[in-house]
Symmetry: C2
Subunit: 582 residues, 2 copies
């Protein structure tokens, strides 16, 4: 095993090319085994093994600073920078994060998980070096779809005119998690097909000194070019062609499916699990039906279609009624706004964590123009995810923008009714938080008229205590209601607000008559969220209000149980608080 003698980047520098080749094979085996056990990013890491070895062979980390984009392709880097036990020892599989993490190693610079950040960050790293009169190379490793994000493009534009050392390595695996979209990727293809020689060159047009490596999974070729560009006194871009999933045939063949896998994906297939309807499958079918009925309905997403269940069948069936804009959320919002303004009916699907990339487009392009799009926000809620992919912040982010209507359905029928209403109304942008919990069905059609904005539903009228359970947490609201009855003998009122963008003043006013306490339950950050609007309403009255939700903090792979308990989100804790307050 070559890996036995490799613990730090310095050890890599002592290896022969033969040894490095063997090392690549060993690292691949470890990555495959580890990722299949824990789940994680498979394809991106298998593709970048050789480039990582070559980087550490040629450059001198941490004096030379390597900045990973998205950083989901940093597993090989972790293996070579003192963290290999996270891959060799199954007991340590969960010790290290799946992203770069400065607290783990001096070879990591930023905690990053969203795409398209590396080049801008590298510009700052290079500038700090030059201000302080230090030396060393600044290297940004970008690719795998990240190039099309606005921040990456702004960064490339600035990096290309920098007067000093910046080396950008573009990992071109011909994928953007799903397939590529946009003219830029046609240029990458042209460059691949001409061995980098085409005159029409996106990177050169931005000022970069450009190099192409056709064999991006060949350590020797990579080392040759990296040596050539090392210590350059100007912006250099090295375009390397790699194979996503390299070394694992099924991943090479199914690049999108093997971008990120669940634990056990490579294991022998068990009995197929019985299909259980969920909000994702429901949405998928809804869009299939509506696009068939109405040629102006169009589904839009910005990369990661798989997350929304937009599989190949779905995309092929929709044809021209489907647009994946690539990783470009800003564009997706403006594009959807214009579609709606001109009479089409866009349904834009986006993850809570990634909607963060487009606040100004929601404010200016969309809400200021009051374009009636339907935006579906997936995965919104308190989560046990990595700090880089939290979905806790979408309520404060979205619901304080004027004109936006942000809905929180609590069951299947309500969700479908909200979708129908949104698709057919022409007054406002509507966002719907797709429930992040098992599907609940009432079995009864929801005939609510959602055009009466901010009209809450009084689900059960009681007295003394009123519970406002928002979206995902409506079920918790029911549990709390039952537990109040059991522990305090109070028949509490239960409210489903439906809307997160405003308050039902009439209903809240009426509660004053026979209630002393209102509690709000929301699956997201409390600061700037929904509950505070309720509390503000009651500020000048005798009504007491308790707001439940997440604290303003970045959490990192903390279990939901622990978070719920930390935020006092169990029925026992809540009823304890109620008892104290009454």
């Amino acid at each position: 095993m070559v890996l036995e003698k490799v613990n730090t980047p310095d050890d890599v520098k002592k290896l022969s090319f033969e040894e490095m080749k063997a090392l690549a094979g060993e690292m691949r085996e470890l990555i495959i085994k580890k990722v299949n056990t824990t789940g994680g990013h498979m394809g991106p890491n298998l593709g970048i093994v050789e480039a990582t070895i070559a980087l550490h062979y040629v450059f001198n980390s941490p004096v030379d600073k390597i900045i990973y984009d998205v950083s989901h392709q940093c597993y090989p880097h972790k293996i070579l920078t003192g963290r290999k036990e996270g891959f060799t020892n199954p007991d340590k599989y969960h010790v290290y994060t799946g992203y770069t993490a400065p607290e783990e190693s001096e070879h990591d610079w930023f905690k990053i998980g969203h795409t398209s950040t590396s080049v801008s960050l590298a510009c700052g790293v290079a500038k700090a070096r030059d201000l302080k009169g230090e030396v060393g190379n600044t290297i940004a490793l970008i690719g795998d779809g990240s190039l099309s994000g606005g921040e990456a493009l702004e960064g490339l534009d600035n990096a290309g005119s920098y007067k000093g050392n910046i080396i950008v390595i573009v990992n071109d695996n011909d994928m953007s998690i799903a397939e590529n979209h946009g003219g830029l990727y046609d240029n990458l293809k042209l460059l691949r097909n001409t061995d980098g020689k085409a005159e029409c060159n996106f990177f050169k047009s931005l000022g970069f000194d450009y190099y192409y490596v056709n064999e991006g999974n060949n350590v020797e070729k990579l080392v040759e070019i990296f040596k050539k560009v090392k210590d350059a006194d100007h912006p250099v871009l090295v375009h390397i062609r790699t194979l996503k999933g390299c070394g694992l045939e099924v991943a090479e063949q199914n690049k999108e499916a093997f971008h990120w896998i669940l634990p056990g994906t490579l294991d022998e297939q068990k009995e197929p699990v019985e299909f259980v309807e969920n909000y994702t499958s429901l949405t998928r079918q809804y869009i299939l039906d509506k696009t068939k009925e109405d040629k102006t309905v169009i589904a839009v997403n910005a990369g990661t279609p798989g997350v929304f269940g937009f599989d190949y069948d779905f995309r092929n069936t929709l044809g021209k009624q489907y647009t994946d804009v690539g990783i470009a959320e800003e564009h997706a919002v403006a594009y959807s706004s214009a579609l709606a303004k001109c009479g089409a009916k866009p349904i834009f699907a986006v993850m809570s964590s990634f909607i963060q990339r487009t606040y100004d487009q929601m404010s200016q392009d969309l809400c200021l123009n009051d374009s009636p799009i339907t935006m579906l926000v997936y995965w919104g809620g308190i989560s046990s995810a990595d700090a880089t992919h939290l979905c806790t912040f979408d309520i404060p982010l979205i619901s304080n923008i004027p004109n936006m209507v942000y809905l929180a359905p609590t069951n299947k029928e309500e969700y479908l009714a909200m979708l129908d209403w949104s698709l057919n109304q022409t007054k406002h942008p509507v966002a719907i938080r797709v429930p992040n919990v098992p599907l609940v069905s009432t079995g009864m059609e929801d005939k609510t008229d959602y055009s009466i904005l901010n009209k809450f539903k009084l689900v059960e009228k009681g007295d003394k205590v009123a519970i406002i359970g928002v979206g995902n947490f409506f079920e918790l609201g029911k549990q709390v209601k039952d537990y109040i009855q059991e522990k305090l003998g109070i028949g509490a009122t239960l409210i489903n607000p439906c809307f997160m963008t405003g308050v039902d003043e009439e209903l809240l006013e009426n509660l004053k008559k026979d209630h002393k306490l209102v509690i709000t339950l929301e699956d997201g950050e409390l600061d700037g969220g929904f509950g505070e609007k309720i509390t503000r309403f009651y500020g000048n009255s005798d009504m007491k209000v308790l707001n439940y939700g997440a604290k303003k903090e970045f959490t990192d792979r903390v279990s939901l149980d622990e978070l719920y308990s930390r935020y006092r989100l169990t029925k026992e804790q809540i009823v304890e608080d109620i008892e104290k307050t009454l």
Copy 2:
């Protein structure tokens, strides 16, 4: 006068080239007179007169749809689309906005004022046309610095691969409000210098069929190319070289200063007004001093340096300790975060309205990495501006991001102390809301230790009523205190919270002893803002709270007096509410 017979685009189509040339002269005269009277965008509009005439001569608006970027260069378009009285009749000078406005005309498609939006919007307009089986050209007019924004780049990438008609016109006046920055602008220069013939072509690399017009202020040349590209069945880009300020010599010579002018700028110079120190001049001097003392201090902005008082002298003096990244706020935040992470001390200056373009970079690149940058937010507050440039939303936007420290100084000495503290601490990203009010000086050095986060200042201890006056509204707080004394005979408590990102639990707890009511005053949107944090704190207590600030709405050129009265922000209204509540 040719203009007498021109009321609609159809009238333009009947003109000869000679007449169009005369028309351009007449329009210029009107624009110069009007803008010098009301203030507004001078250079951009003078530069685009001929292109606007040519567009309406060749294309058939509104069937062909012209989408303006930034839209501050739409004055000639307004003159030709039924709104010329807004330029010919001084009594009507204020009838039309300075931006495109669909409610004014069927020839306007979006209400837009931030840069970089047109291409993405055009993609949606084109796609809606094609989904609905309609015909017509979709034209995006971009330029004047807008190209470097992430949204524009995402849009160009997507537009370049569209399978249908999209025409992008790049108005290249060699400026980005201030001078250009970034590799892209070197490519524009190369294209200008080669009459558009250079093979290395940014736009071609993204898939566009490319045309160059060297004489972008020559109607005949423009008409020739526009006719050629009309009805193209694929993405076309027309690069036109125009002269910013064309026809007004002083504007041609001083492009940055004449981008936007105050009323009367062209009038005979009056006596120079006496210099009065304000927060902008104070900041400018502070940065000059600090960059001189410490070579790692660096000022950063994303375009519009003039807004911050970063004039030519300032930029030249700072030299390498100054970076204008161009219009690219996302990059600016990531760049600053990396600078700070590597030991430099960036001071990033940004307008409240434009910080909206970078929420995710603040969350991911900056706050998740807890990089100790100093961010100065200018112009934050309720404003009488156009709906496109409101600065009302920065408190909800910034202050709900974990790890961020957002400070609101209330006088000169406090501001300087906060700046010093921020620059020398290494723990958190710090944003400071530069006061948007006349400078107040206490004459006494502020020795507060701001490292004790969320520690409010108890300025005057009273009882019954406590007033928390945030930043700009601290002075209003003082007035309210005096008026309470006068009207209700109550000696109220006055608090300066300093921090908008958290609450001082100890101080708030203590108020419960001898206070019945707390009022919060903030110069910004109430929803998701600072006051709600206070209200939430008191939710389970007998303390009443009244929150004052702006309603969640887009306002459009509404006077401050009217807004303050609407939001009950006068001392009389507030004391009336207090009397009712007590």
